[in-house]
Symmetry: C3
Subunit: 357 residues, 3 copies
């Protein structure tokens, strides 16, 4: 199945990823073959909140293909671009570019953008909702270092309750065969129930543990994330626990020789600097693979034909999304769109609950 | 006549535009033929005030030709660049680039820049004075959609008193044959006397009306601009009038089938969203044509030979421009230059009145 | 000797410069031959403090070679990039780019960056410490205008006590044969003792004078820098002296016909505008030569193989640099590195004194 806009990791099948990765691998092996393949092509980079790392990764990916980039990268740009609707900003940029990369604090912003765009939209993070190219980066790192994604014991460690990155990665890995998840977190920051159900429904096994060191010997991948002080109701609890979830060279002693230590970066204290020299620490290589998989994605996205989107009725209904961070709360003309998942009806922008008013 | 610097729409003849447009049309039809034509060429983009849309249009134009862009885009850059004169900033950028695009809140800034530049200057807006590439965009849209500019009834609607865009467009269209203008505005915001005289002197017809709906059936082009609350002495008058000048799908019912609805963007409430789906609404296409005509312009401008400007005497005279927004009030070394138009003598930077002191 | 990172002007030999300059001259004479030579190559431009001029020079240099640039250019970016160490920021950018240009208010920042980078680092100014590409620019200007660097009487004028630019230039010129320095400054702002010793040790002659006009007839090069009010303990002394160090057309009357008047720019009042039209005023050409020598440098730097740096022990010692502006005071994990110069031991980052604590 072809994907016109990359909005959610749920749109991505194992097959689609595998075909994207095969382009990516080619780019890693023969970078010179691709340095002019996007000559004359443009990416609009609309960062309604700053994210230096993601921004640099997309920019460098586009530029390495011979294409170029315009856009804005800081929050003050928001007010600047204001006075006009998101819909009009998107239509303007679609007049100038071949693909639009959008980052926004509003959940569902990328989906909203896709309704008004004649060119492909790529979601570079919409609030706490989705960040699909981070997940593509993670999958690429595993493929590139281990040859495939199959039969691995994947340790997800840290704040599994709030972490957008680990949620998306768990969903994506569920589409590959025979994955076992080791979910390592404080009890208060455990993986949400709906995601555990998702794993079960997709036939994957998981165990929930609280001790990183005990889990270590069994892992093929250890995906570290940060445990933030402000997530704890009780500060003493934070002080008691934080060291358990800090990775050190010492804790790696009992790990497998082929373990991959991954991290979305920037890392703070959750990985000690003495881990950096360990060949199993692949988080900086991971950043580099992220550039290459984005190159493959941008190659696809900038070579699709322009397509004027069908007219969209403005919002006139009596329904509303309850999520205060949803884009529909800011861009009031947006039509309310539903998404049915079994018996649940949710907002097709942010996956929040819908409310009839 | 060749134009070395594009400072004012008054410099542009119908012949020059027509030759520029023919390159532009070629670029629209065969974009691939031009994707490397500015390889190794650079545009300096000096925005002393933010203007996301104009900035993006110029950047994407230059990049689509295979050239590249450096510069600054926000007002804090002004203070940053400060400590040195505009003249020196221009000379520095002329050392690095092949053409300079300048946007400034100071009227006459582009003209001032041209005195010190070894490379072509393009005016991307100098305060309320001129914005010639917007006018080129407007002319291109009419040509591209109607094949030529001749014999049309052009409706200019909104604030015709203060609108830089409609003033420039009226002047430019006056150079084409058999144009009829329908000037649609509140009485308080009517087209200035000197422009009406200009139209008459150039043999063009016009009517002044206050009702958009009544004028609609006769128009070939409807150019919408905003009516801003702060322009009215009496707020009640604004409330009474504003809806008259809002374009809706309903008001379009009696319009010609080939009408072009144009707008410089960003639009606020002056065009209702229900107009967007109408095939006569060409304002988003207009943005795209703006990129293509800027591509044609940049191709010309980046291929002129470098030419050290003749030495400029610093200001030592007893004359001064009375316009407080004129660049000569800030950059005190600028020589005072006069422009004679019939019996009027005006400032050659900003067209303001000169004062002997 | 090949240079992997360009950190300090002291790393630069006359031979290395001469070979770099010969590429530069080729680029000046045949710019078209080089417009695609860096296709697909990327420069990361990390400006932790604003410097429009240096930034534009590097950007335009890279772009003219067909390469491209990403990065940040203003101080707010510092806080943005914060939350992570300089080491990690560098490792991230090294994942995306082929060379890194770094500007920082911290002395030794470029040296620190080089410890963690798989790609070449170029120092674009680290506080008051070094700015080696400015010096390359200055040498290039002399070569390009006078054919070689040999046997000239070089006047350095202005604040010779605090001026990083003149210090570096003096060091660099000391490596060329038969240079005579004329050091023109107020007594309070004379060249530091250690630099005078350096000149003597390298067999160069110098005289110290206080009067620019008297020195004028003997000079082959006059390098102007600013005398800042805030450098004077006594404001009356400043008022008395400042005009002595302002260059005017009048003062140039007795100068040699082939004199080169140089300035690092931006100039303030230290060069009167009436000098600009004199053919001996080469400061704007100097800016242009700066772009070309940076092109030559970037061509070299972007074509070196990636090389993972050896692991660096974190700082655990009991030694510290006494310089409050040294990067080691901010990035606390940095190993303390010593540099021995005769009997002096100094900090290998900032050349400051080391303190055992």
């Amino acid at each position: 199945m072809e994907i016109r806009h990359l909005i959610s990791i749920e749109d991505v099948s194992a097959e689609w990823f595998t075909s994207l990765y095969s382009i990516c691998r080619d780019m890693i092996d023969h970078p010179g073959d691709f340095s002019g393949i996007c000559n004359g092509k443009l990416m609009a980079s609309l960062f309604f909140e700053p994210s230096t790392r993601t921004n640099f990764s997309f920019q460098s990916a586009m530029m390495r293909l011979g294409g170029n980039v315009f856009g804005f990268s800081d929050p003050s740009a928001t007010s600047r671009a204001k006075g006009e609707s998101l819909a009009d900003t998107i239509r303007m940029c679609a007049a100038y570019a071949d693909t639009i990369v959008i980052r926004s604090p509003l959940e569902g912003a990328a989906k909203a953008a896709s309704l008004y765009s004649a060119i492909p939209i790529i979601n570079a993070g919409d609030g706490g909702h989705m960040h699909p190219t981070q997940t593509l980066t993670d999958l690429t790192t595993i493929c590139q270092r281990r040859g495939e994604i199959r039969g691995f014991n994947i340790g997800l460690c840290g704040d599994l309750k709030n972490g957008r990155t680990v949620h998306s990665l768990a969903i994506a890995l569920s589409k590959f065969p025979d994955i076992r998840f080791t979910l390592i977190s404080p009890r208060d920051l455990a993986m949400p129930e709906y995601l555990l159900t998702y794993l079960k429904d997709h036939g994957q096994n998981y165990v929930e543990v609280t001790n990183l060191e005990a889990a270590m010997p069994h892992l093929d991948v250890l995906y570290m994330t940060r445990v933030q002080r402000e997530r704890f109701a009780d500060p003493l609890e934070y002080e008691r626990l934080k060291n358990v979830y800090i990775l050190t060279a010492k804790k790696l002693e009992r790990a497998k020789k082929e373990l991959l230590v991954m991290h979305p970066l920037p890392r703070c204290e959750e990985i000690a600097m003495d881990v950096d020299a360990d060949p199993r620490a692949v988080y900086f290589d991971q950043a580099r693979y992220g550039m290459f998989i984005r190159m493959a994605l941008l190659l696809k996205m900038t070579h699709m034909a322009r397509e004027t989107p069908p007219p969209t009725a403005s919002h006139k209904g009596s329904q509303r999304c309850k999520n205060p961070a949803c884009v529909t709360g800011q861009e009031l003309y947006l039509p309310i769109l539903e998404k049915t998942n079994g018996e649940n009806i949710s907002c097709a922008y942010c996956d929040g609950k819908l409310l009839t008013i």
